[in-house]
Amino acid sequence: MGKTLIEVVNLVKYFAVYTRGILLRRKIGDVHAVDDVSLKIEEGENLGLVGETGCGKTTLGKTILNLIEPDSGKVYFEGLDVYETLRSGPEEKKKYLRRSMQMIFQNPYGSLDPRMTVYDIISEPFVIHRHIPRDEWEERVYSLLRLVGLEDYHAERYPHEFSGGQRQRISIARALATDPKFIVADEPVSSLDVSVRAQVLTLLENLQKEKKISFLYISHDLSSVRQITQSVAVMYLGKIFEYGPTDEIFEEPLNPYTIALLSAIPVPDPERKINRIVLPGDVPSPINPPSGCRFHPRCPWATEKCKKEEPELREVRKGHFVACHYAENFMKGEKPLPTVQQ
């Protein structure tokens, strides 16, 4: 195991929800977007963050970068308190943090300023940070373009002249321009076509290997998470439900939600037997989530205990954390699965 690059400690972010109107508006409740989340990312490691709509995965990613102000909790980058430093730290530490932590967005059509050329977009980090001398800017822009698989002449064009996959490459080049050590990649391939998706995924894989960049890879596409991450965190309504090494969790999930989620994905192999757990009901709204275990209304194995007591995220095996009262029951060959009552 390498050094810890990012440490998230008890991070909380709620969004208050109001009735419509300005004068007489009342608070209806809170969206529990990020609810007491703790995570670690090792140097050179990719962490996958998976979950369905409204589980708070994007909010978590943006809050780690302080693009959204947290309610409480801390994030450390190489031991440096991110929020404290950005608020009142010395200028050069602020710049160091901003340079070291970058983000790639989901929508390649919205994440590039339509009125700037690709050259201006990729060189903007140089303008802001002045971390490399001016006469090297051009060479750097071209080498970044080549690194992400584009050509020199693309620099003079505008974003609307590119396809979705190419724009995502431009976003990646911009993020790389600051020489970051950590990148939050929020669904970077979900709006891309199947064959183009693989191009961007391999690009991310190579960046991790060759540039030793760690990614927080946010996605609902579990297959790509399996492909490019070393560890994975599963979120449900603002909480981490399971967290540990990717292969271990995909082989032997120990939280009923993870089990159901993984069984839901169709596998491109017609001979594979499908042993699917279909969850009843809809993905619930994160406003005022259910009591006890948030998953209990949909969980096929829920008991009285689950309705009342919220399970802690606990280490069930080395490095494998699960938030379920009955995690041990799901381990292979240890105890039989509780019966599904449906």
Binding site: Q227, I265, P268, P270, V278
Partner: protein, 326 residues
């Protein structure tokens, strides 16, 4: 295999845009057999959706069906009048779209949307239509169907809306159900619900299902035969359980190698380049600029779709290549 129920022959559907003529579907041929679940798989711009819209004859302007035949039970749908077509749509061939938000009318309740379809094709009283609507909602496993009848689309979740859309499509027990990316906009656990529902309905009703998707996993799970489209033409047709082991078209092989899998880590092999522009598609085989096995002939000559032992492939070199799955 059942009897042939639908045959698409050399279908060409073009879109006449300001920028030029987009050859969205350019000579597509395949057959559908009664009671079979057939997959049509392809990426954006492969022509899979336009093919389904052409079968229903609801291609939006500036699109037009240029030529070809669509034989449904011995009759060419392209020669039918608009009136005759209206009797076929929804009654004989029904479609479920990708986005239930836009295919349901926000101004009407679930009941009136179902009634509309039921009463358009059957002479029934309001009460009978209502009973049928209830029955349909039960069939697509909507909880508390009586209450849902009075609901408006915005009061339902995405998964529920897709169930209502499926119920509406099934209202008149169509011969063929076309499902165009029915799970793409849904959350993973809701996708699983809809997949299971479609599988169940297909086997229970012995329905002819045309599943249109970009997801090879969904194809593997829900279909028995599959048509692979690339850039508006058919690359390959094969039984589903064979195509994953021994594909004959390099595009099928490349597509499978480019998709990550949930059950294991693998070496991803991206397909180089991007999806061709259909205003000015590549000469010869449309896949040639991205194909690892390209030869001069591929650039010059358009490969014919060759039929052999229940399979078909449009590739000059398929006999000499032995393509394997992963």
């Amino acid at each position: 295999m059942g009897e042939e129920i639908l045959r698409v022959e050399n279908l060409k559907t073009y879109f006449f845009t300001e920028a030029g003529v987009v050859k969205a579907v350019d000579g597509v041929s395949f057959s559908v057999y009664e009671g079979e679940p057939l997959g049509i798989v392809g990426e954006t711009g492969s022509g899979k959706t336009v093919t389904s819209l052409s079968i229903m004859r609801i291609v939006p302007p500036p699109g037009k069906i240029i030529s070809g035949r669509i034989i449904y039970r011995g009759e060419d749908l392209l020669e039918k009048s608009e009136d005759e077509m209206r009797k076929i749509r929804g009654k004989k061939i029904a479609i479920v779209f990708q986005d239930p938000n836009s295919s349901l009318d926000p101004l009407f309740t679930v009941e009136s949307q179902l009634n509309e379809v039921i009463m358009a094709h059957l002479k029934v009283t309001k009460q009978e239509a209502r009973n049928r609507a209830l029955e349909l909602l039960k069939m697509v496993r909507i909880p508390d169907p009586e209450a849902r009848l009075k609901a408006y689309p915005h009061e339902l979740s995405g998964g529920m809306r897709q169930r209502v859309a499926i119920a509406r499509a099934l209202a008149n027990e169509p011969d063929i159900l076309i499902a165009d990316e029915p799970t793409t906009n849904l959350d993973v656990t809701i996708q699983a619900q809809i997949i299971e529902l479609l599988k169940e309905l297909q086997s229970k009703l012995k329905m002819t299902l045309i599943m249109i998707t970009h997801d090879m996993g969904l194809v593997a799970e829900t279909t028995k035969r599959v048509v692979v489209l690339y850039a508006g033409s058919v690359a390959e047709i094969a039984p589903t359980n064979e195509i994953f082991k021994s594909m004959r078209h390099p595009y099928t092989a490349a597509l499978l190698k480019a998709v990550p899998r949930i059950d294991r880590r693998k070496e991803l092999k991206p397909i180089p380049g991007s999806i061709p522009n259909l205003i000015d598609p590549p000469s010869g085989c449309r896949f040639h600029p991205r194909c690892p096995y390209v030869i001069q002939r591929c650039i010059e000559e358009v490969p014919e779709l060759e039929f052999t032992d229940q399979r078909a492939v449009a590739c000059h070199r398929w006999k000499e290549l032995s393509l394997k799955g992963e």
